[in-house]
Structure formats: structure tokens, C-alpha cells
């Protein structure tokens, strides 16, 4: 009996694998582009995972209790779509809309599809996401991820491998589809399975070598993975690219190429001959345990206390951010915090002390930190990942993919700008506004004092979607009282009169400079308006236009950031159609080590420079009259 059942299951899964191959060919040939050979090597792996190993509800793919699957080799999207179609989640006809302008079945998977949790397609990112999903898993839930062999060269894979074993994440199971061929040539290791095994074992994983087209061997490997609970497992599947596709099996030059219809028909005909008319078994999903939606999914975010800072004090915005995290942590169990071995600089160690089991030390591996955050968010957590703003650049590709997937992650970049001082340019975040605002759905907040930083943290928590908080190192004056209100997309007008001759827009550490310049200018009878931008993206276009018109169209922007793509450019874009005159003060060269205020002065963003510029502009009668 047992043997018969096993044989029948093998037959069923073989049939499923053939169907997945056929579906992948039909979809890519209909689209006229795509990666059928990269699907073919994974057909048995996908069949075994989707139709035997994984517990999930095909009718409820978003169920947070499902076993989850991440397709790290996102270019094999057609076989992912085919697996869900074969599972009955939608009709097979939808597969033929692949890559169409109005189809959600895109070239690479995105969460526009309800069965996709994270966007993939930039290689080497899926393992980090699966790791994040695994640490956020419900009882008994397992996370599966399929990587290509080519993407094993991405360092981010080894960051995730190291952290997953250090954290002893036993419910994470990776599979590598080792089909020997990359896009442009054979991979580095080709079918050197033993070297794969040595590397993964050295990184602390259970590593299982199997023939990736042998269904009983795959079933046994996943059972063995399930049995080992103190570390993650990787199934190293030796496969053939284009398997089952006649003369293009294991051939170079077929990566990312759809077959012409005639050739596709020929191959599909051969595959169809292998389909049994009367399958021995009908597939029924193994449903997950129906968990009650857990408390964190309905939690309303309420801050337990107002920001505790008093105007006149001096507090760094990074400190207030960490204070706010610790406060929010008390009322919202969804909040989790990640840091890259700078928690005594970002001060997230405060959160760690209060909530050690919701804090993830990710060490010096920022790509995996952000990828893990994406996975945590996919499971309903609200992750804040913090490091220096300069090192957020390390994870830019992960942020880019988070934006594509609309992931609900929050990044905090501290130590931005030349105002960090003596550590020098390698530690100064000077391009972080450019990189984060470029992503059109990324909210970017730049608080100028501790109270604003506290509220920015709260707003990021409440907002769904990627957010970036720009935070400074130095202790700076507290300007706002605890009852000041802040909103995403709204600026604060801090100084104004009916006779303002220019508008100064700034944020962060340079607000104090702008206010100092304001005082100097006021003493000289030159009134100016000062705006604290706070929300760089979205930007308060309405108030900026109103203010710039009221002052006669002369605007000065000041920022501790490089000139291109920063706060000044965001203001410029907001006013672009309005015929104003915008003068940007920003860091325009690679800076040097030095003391914070020396550097702000040398690079032209101190009060002295602001006041000088305003003075010069307002002494040009031609400019003023032209505006009137």
C-alpha cells in the first residue's frame, strides 16, 4: 500500500511537472519573450513543492498561515504562475496574458498578484526575504525559496546564509536550481555539487544534494529538511537547463529566449505524449492550520506618550527616533527593529533592551538587513531598519525592489551630511535623498528637531509603504513643542511676515543655520520667510507655491546633502512651472574630515552663507522688480 501510494504520488508529480513545462512554453511563446529554459530546469522542484510539500490554501493565497514560496530566480516567473494556475487559483487561460500591458502576470513577479509576497527579478534577494518571512512565521509554518545557481555569486546570498544559520532559522528551506548555465556562459561552479555543499555547510546549513529531476529524491530531501529544526536547509538540486525541451536541453545561447511557435508546438507535442489520460491520483491541497488572525494584524497604532523634548534643549534626531521606537513598541506589537552593528550610534539599542525578541541584529550586511525587513513586512510586521545614511546606499537595489513591491518597510539613515564631522566622507550620507526620493512611492521625511523626529517615526509607522527617515548625528536645538502637529506631505512655516523678501527652505541640521541667518537679516531690516520642509516626498507643493509667490519668487534652499537630487531639487521641482528664482546651497564637492561646524561653513551651508546669499539677492533691485 505504502509503495503504491508513493508511486502514485510520484506519477502525479511527474504529470504536474510536465504540465508546468507545457504551460511555461505556451505562455512565453505567446508573449514572444521570457525564459522557458529557466523554467524547465525547475519543473520537478516546483511540482514537488506546490503539489506535495507545501501546506497552503490555493483559494486564499494571502493567508498568513500558508507555507510560503519565494521565487528568487524571478525570471522563471512563468512556472510560478503555472504552478498557481495548476493549483486552481486562477484559470490557465490567464497565463497567455503573460507580459502584456494590462496583465498582472508581468515579466518578473510582483505583489500585484495575490500569491506573490515580495517582488523579485533582481537576483540574490529572495533568500533574505524568505529569511524575514521565516522569523515572522506562525507556529508550524515553513518558508521555501528557489534560487538560481547564477545568483549564488551575489554576496547578498551569503549575507543571508550567514545570518540564517546564526539565528538558527529551522523553518527556512532554500532550493538551488543548479542548471549549470548562466545568461551568457556557464556558471562559475557548473555542476560541482561538492563545492556547493562545502560552502553551504561552512555557512552553517544542512546541505542536501539531489538530482533535481528525480521526484522521489526531491521528496526525501524536503522531508529531511523538515526533520532538522536547529538550522536552515538547502536542497542543492542538480538540474538541466531546458530539461524536456529536446535539442535545446543543456545548451548555451537559450537563456531568456522564447521559442518560435512552430518549435514550441513540436516540443509541446512531445511533452503532451508523456501526459497520462487517466492520472492515478487527484491532487488536493494540504491546507494550513487555520490560524485566527493574530493581534498584530488588527493593532491600531497609538503612541503611549507624547514626545518628551522641551524647546531650548539639545537632542539629536537619531536619539529621538530611537526613543520613539521604544515608545511605539509598547503599544504596537507589529513593530520590529533591525540594525547593522551600529545600534549604539543609531540608538536602536534602546529598543533592543526593551524588546529583545523584536530586535534583529543584522551585523555589517546591509543588503540582507533590508531584504529581511521586506520579508518581515510581507508577514505583517512593521520593520524599521537602521544604519548610517551612507550605508543605505549598500542596499539600494533592495530598496528599489521594495518600492516595486510596495513593501511596508521603514529605513532610517543616521549620520547624514558633513555635519557628522571628523569621520570623513565615507561615513557621510550625502546622496540618500537622491536615492530614496527617486523611488516614486517612497515617503521621505527629514525631521529638523527631536520632536519632529519622534513624530516622523510615528508617521512612518502609520503609513503603509516604503519610508525613509533622514536623521542627523549632532545634538541640535529643539524647536517644536510636544503638541505641534506634523503630517506626511506638509511643511512647517516657522518665520513669516507680510514683508518677506525671500523664502528659505531647509530641513535637518541646517534649520538652526537658517534661523540664525533669519535673526541676522532681521537685525539688518531684511525680513525673510523660513520653512522647515519636513516631508521631502511627498512635498507640500501648495504651501511652497503660496509662500514663494508671497515673497516675490525668490527662494533659497539649504541642505546638508549633495546638490543633485536633494532637498533643493525637490523644492525646484515643486516650483518648476512657477517662474521663481531658486538658489541652492548644498555640498558641491567631495567633503573632507573636520569639525561639524567647520565643515558646514566650508561647504557653504552655514548661517553665514545663507545670510550672505539672501543679502546679495535682495540687493538686486532688478530681480525684485522682475518678480513683481
Amino acid at each position: 500500500m505504502y509503495t503504491d501510494a508513493a508511486t502514485n504520488e510520484t506519477l502525479l508529480l511527474e504529470q504536474k511537472a510536465i504540465r508546468l513545462r507545457i504551460d511555461s512554453i505556451r505562455a512565453t511563446t505567446a508573449a514572444g519573450s521570457g525564459h522557458p529554459t529557466s523554467c524547465a530546469s525547475a519543473a520537478e522542484i516546483m511540482a514537488v513543492l506546490f503539489f506535495s510539500v507545501m501546506r497552503y490554501d490555493p483559494a486564499d493565497s494571502r493567508n498568513l498561515a500558508n507555507d510560503k514560496f519565494v521565487l528568487s530566480k524571478g525570471h522563471a516567473a512563468p512556472i510560478l504562475y503555472a504552478a498557481w494556475a495548476e493549483a486552481g487559483t486562477f484559470g490557465l487561460d490567464k497565463l497567455l496574458t503573460l507580459r502584456g500591458l494590462d496583465s498582472d502576470f508581468e515579466g518578473h513577479p510582483t505583489p500585484r498578484l495575490p500569491f506573490v509576497d515580495v517582488a523579485t527579478g533582481s537576483l540574490g534577494q529572495g533568500l533574505s526575504a524568505a529569511l524575514g518571512m521565516a522569523v515572522a512565521a506562525r507556529s508550524g509554518q515553513r518558508m521555501y525559496v528557489l534560487l538560481g545557481d547564477g545568483e549564488s555569486a551575489e554576496g547578498s546570498v551569503w549575507e543571508a546564509a550567514e545570518i540564517a544559520s546564526a539565528w538558527k532559522v529551522g523553518n527556512l528551506c532554500a532550493t538551488i536550481d543548479i542548471n549549470r548555465l548562466g545568461q551568457s556562459q556557464p556558471t562559475l561552479l557548473q555542476h560541482d555539487m561538492e563545492t556547493y555543499r562545502r560552502r553551504w555547510e561552512a555557512f552553517g546549513w544542512q546541505a542536501l544534494i539531489v538530482d533535481g529531476h528525480n521526484i522521489p529524491a526531491l521528496l526525501e530531501a524536503y522531508q529531511q529538511a523538515d526533520r532538522v529544526t536547529d538550522r536552515p536547509s538547502v536542497v542543492l538540486a542538480r538540474t538541466i537547463k531546458g530539461k524536456g525541451m529536446l535539442e535545446i536541453e543543456d545548451k548555451e545561447g537559450w537563456h531568456g529566449k522564447a521559442m518560435k511557435p512552430d518549435f514550441a508546438d513540436k516540443i509541446v507535442a512531445v511533452l503532451e505524449q508523456q501526459l497520462k489520460k487517466n492520472p492515478p491520483l487527484t491532487w488536493h491541497p494540504k491546507l494550513p492550520q487555520r490560524v485566527t488572525q493574530q493581534v498584530e494584524n488588527q493593532a491600531k497604532h497609538v503612541l503611549s506618550v507624547p514626545p518628551p523634548y522641551k524647546p531650548g534643549g539639545n537632542v539629536a534626531t537619531r536619539r529621538a527616533f530611537a526613543d520613539a521606537l521604544a515608545a511605539v513598541g509598547k503599544t504596537d506589537p507589529r513593530l520590529v527593529v533591525l540594525d547593522g552593528d551600529v545600534k549604539n550610534s543609531t540608538y536602536t539599542e534602546e529598543f533592543q533592551k526593551a524588546f529583545p525578541d523584536r530586535f534583529f541584529e543584522c551585523f555589517i550586511a546591509e543588503q540582507n538587513m533590508v531584504g529581511t525587513a521586506i520579508g518581515l513586512a510581507a508577514q505583517g510586521k512593521i520593520p524599521f531598519a537602521s544604519t548610517f545614511g551612507s550605508f543605505v546606499t549598500r542596499a539600494y537595489d533592495f530598496l528599489r525592489m521594495a518600492a516595486i513591491g510596495g513593501a511596508n518597510i521603514k529605513l532610517a539613515g543616521t549620520h547624514v551630511g558633513v555635519s557628522i564631522g571628523e569621520d570623513g566622507p565615507s561615513q557621510m550620507g550625502l546622496e540618500d535623498i537622491a536615492m530614496t526620493c527617486a523611488e516614486p512611492n517612497c515617503t521621505v521625511l527629514y525631521p529638523s528637531d527631536a520632536t519632529a523626529a519622534w513624530r516622523a517615526t510615528e508617521l512612518a509607522m502609520q503609513h503603509h509603504g516604503p519610508c525613509y527617515l533622514r536623521l542627523a548625528r549632532p545634538a541640535t536645538p529643539v524647536f517644536y513643542s510636544a503638541d505641534e502637529s506634523f503630517a506626511i506631505g506638509k511643511c512647517k512655516v516657522l518665520r513669516q511676515s507680510a514683508h518677506d523678501g525671500a523664502l528659505i527652505v531647509t530641513g535637518g541640521v541646517t534649520l538652526a543655520e537658517a534661523l540664525s541667518a533669519f535673526e541676522q537679516l532681521r537685525g539688518e531690516g531684511i525680513p525673510v520667510r523660513v520653512i522647515d520642509l519636513f516631508s521631502i516626498q511627498p512635498i507640500d507643493r501648495e504651501e511652497l507655491i503660496k509662500a514663494s509667490r508671497e515673497v516675490g519668487g525668490i527662494v533659497i534652499t539649504v541642505e546638508d546633502h549633495y546638490a543633485h537630487g536633494g532637498l533643493g531639487d525637490a523644492v525646484l521641482a515643486a516650483l518648476a512651472e512657477d517662474r521663481v528664482s531658486v538658489h541652492k546651497l548644498a555640498v558641491r564637492e567631495i567633503p573632507h574630515s573636520g569639525k561639524p561646524h567647520e565643515l558646514m561653513d566650508r561647504y557653504g551651508i552655514s548661517a553665514r552663507h545663507i545670510a550672505n546669499l539672501a543679502r546679495n539677492l535682495l540687493r538686486q533691485p532688478s530681480d525684485r522688480s522682475r518678480a513683481s
Copy 2:
């Protein structure tokens, strides 16, 4: 005799190590900040490398034949500076200027100093640079790199490790200063030396475990590294953070903290007691073989042939870029090309076929590819590294450090924008202008046709410093004849009349759209001017101001890039003070899969949208009169 000599050398090196510790303490205490404990763990390693192992000329640190040293753990800069001072390159007094505003002895090393080849300070980058330097080495030359243990968590380290062994780079010797303590807590592996060994061996390296404070053991390890020539070697040095610094040895909480003067004096006094009055041996440098400057260092770049494209044809700019590389390769031996397993998409396989020994397949590991390029450039090569524009984001931190170091690297990003079509947003470079232009010394060229792309490649070759070439996937019309001249910082005015009512500025694939809009508008009696920007950074501010004034201050920008930080923002910034009205057409949401032209139309950057916008603007008499 031999034993005496060995003993005397050990004594000499012990004395040097003590001096390096003292120098590091004095410098950081004078600066009031820095990382003395991270220097202390490396004192014997540095003494052995600088005063026994390495062959170099302290009086000529830029000599391309020197053995080279890269300090990947850049925060230990004071001990690097101390080593060169002790070698006699400059006076010890200079060390006390550490971190000062006008000192080149910055918080982390930069090539402002003649003995620093690449900027470090963002961890995990030095190994890639040393790898690039090693493959470009002269006969007999060896490359040394010192990593921290904390930075071993960076995936880029494992990218470099895999590639260095695959390439059998036997003249590369890494040392890991395994001092057990990171910034905020112990490292993942602490002193688990065997796991380090297993990992490095699995990645194909000779791995040698030593006591990092035992000078004879270190000397033996470097000799053993020298003996193995078919693979790189790593010295895994077990060390103590703060070694020799009394009660702060091996203590948490001392990362990145300078000692107060009293405490420093106490420790220095103890160290000074260990200095011998009459050292047994005087150090003399082991000079390198004086190589004749090789031909590539004086080579004048001359293109062998003019661009071969004819107006009226259709050629992708990526294709012309690769054609130009193959042509330049014939006349300039400095040119080397790197690619990340997309050489059949970037077409750099053309160069590989012509010059296989000057082509480096870097597989899917973009960080290491760019880091290797930085190292190649440091040895006098001119490296072009190519991948999709989207995946350049992967290496943003490396580009950032290249900019800080002024590295002479050239990056080419192909497949930019929605015009790639069906592969979807994960493969579309839509933030590459934002990220590259943010670096103030990065030249960014965006050729609009094949001839311009050929010339852009030539210009990048001739220009010293980081450059980015933005290249498109689709075949697009050739506009320019072979004798058209292009320059960095200069745009091309393609259509103009005395009656133009608006200026359209664009580049790349949207130039054809702008010219099509121009034709439509001309048919309607609406003359507009069209500029092909070509050089986004530096930008042709003079011509843009002139043109915008001549058309009455109405400007339309069009780009296949996200709205923030792109071509439009560069134009806006150039015209910011000039009271013009700028209207940006750009991709303003996460795009979808689809056909190239469908996507350009859906996201508002096609000829139809340009013509509509111009029409609407020029029908607003209020706007025109306001400008007059």
C-alpha cells in the same frame, strides 16, 4: 647566525609594533576621536607587512611596481598613517594633524594621500579593490589587504573571495584581523577560527590560522602565502582588540573611542617602557624591482576609426558602446572591460572576443565588479564595467567610494527606462541618473544615438575620473553623422528657429519622440526648439540659459527615468535662478511590463504627450506674456 638574524628581525618588528600602537594612540587622542583599539589589534600584522614582507619604496609610494597594501578596515587609518611615518615617508609630527580640517590625514584613508590607492571606510570593499590591483600587477608584485572580522559579514567580501579563487589570483594575500569585537557587540563568529578556515577554504583560498600578535608566526604565514601561487591566501589572525592597552584590552564599549589625554599618557608610558634603547637592527626597505614605466601609462588614446553609423539607420546605443570599446581596445592597451554575466546583452562579448585577456567576466556580483574596476584603475588601467542600469544600484556604495577616491572607473548601464519593455520594472534602470549625478565628480553622459554613444565611450576613456554611460536597449534612429563633434559638458541644439515658443530638452530614447513631436507641432505652426542634452553632468548651463531665454522661458524636459533626480532635475537646477517655467515629463509611478512603445506612451514620455504639453503651454497667452 640564521637564528640570530631571525631573532633580531623579530625584535625589530616587535619594536615597530609598539611604536605603531603609540603613534595610533597619540594621533587619536590629539584628534579627540578615532579608533585606537582597532589599530592596536593590527599592530603586529602591520609591523610584519610594512617592515619585513612588503617590497616597496617609502620615498616613492606611487611607484606602480611596489607591493601594495589596502586597508579595508579603513577606520584603522591611524595605524596606516603611522606605518608610513615609521617607514620614513613623512614626519611623525604629521600624525598629530589627524582628522583636522586642513589635514589630508582624514578619519578614513583617501587617495589625497600619495600612499593610499583607493578610498576605504565603507567596510567590505577593500578585498575587491586588492583583487583588481592583483590582476593588474606587474611581474613579481604582490597585493596585501587587511580586513576586519566584522566586515566579513558583507556579502561583497564573498563575491571577491569567489572570483579571486576562480581567477586563481596567487599574488593576492588577505589578512583578517579577527579581534572578536564589532562596533556594538561581539562579531558573529568571535574567535571561532575553524569556521573562518572552513569558509575560506570552501571558497577556494589557502587559509592560514595564526596568533596575530606572534611575529614569527605571522612571518611564517606570509612566507607560506607567498609559496602558494595557484590561489589566493588569507591569513586568519586571531587578535585582541585594544591589545597592549591595559584594562581596555578585549573590552566591549571601546570601539571608535579616543582616549582622554591622562589615560593615553598612562598607556603610552607603559608601551614606551617596552621600547629598547638600542635596537638590534635598523630597518631598511626592501625596494621593488624598478620597472620601466609600462607602455600603457603613457599611451595616448587615439580612436582607430570613426563611428561607422549612417543617419537613417537603426542601432542601439548599447551596441555602439560595445563597438567603440572593441575599436578603442586596438589602440589603447590600458582599456579593460568587466561585465556581470550580461555580456550578450551589453554586447561587451565583442570586446571579449577581440581581447580575451583584457576582459573580466565578473558573474552576477556587481559590487565586486565595480570594486575590481577600482583596483584596476589604481594600477593604471582604464576599466569599463557594464551591466543593466538597474543593477548598477547594487554597487552604489562602491560608486560612492569610487567618487570619494576619484577613481578612474567607467560604468555603463544598459537597458535603462521603461523602453526595455516586457521584462518589467525589476530590469528597468529608472534611478540611475539620480544615483550617479548625486556624486559631484561623476561625469554622466546619455547618448541619444549610436554615433553619440561611440563618442561618449571615447570621451569617457579620455576623461580622468568616474564616468557613467546611460545606454538603451532598443535600436533607435541614427541622427548624427560621423563627423559630428561631442564634448563633456556640451549639449546639441538639433532644431531651432527665430520663432521658437518653447524649448524641449531630452536625451536617449526620447529624443526620437521629441523630434516626432517637433514635426507634429511644426505642421500646426508651432515652432519649438529641441536640445539633445548628451552630457547630464556636467551640464551645458550656458546653452540651456541662452536657449530658454530665446524661447521666452518655457521649457519641457522628457526622460525615460523617474521624475526625481533625473535629466529634468538637472535642467531645472541649471535654470533655477532664471525664472523660467519648466515642465517635466518623466516616469512618475512604478511601471509595468509591456511593449516598449506602449510603456513610453502609458507613462507619459511619448511624442503624443510632448506635443500635447507644448500645445497646451503655448495656448496659454498669460504664460507667454508673463515671460516677455
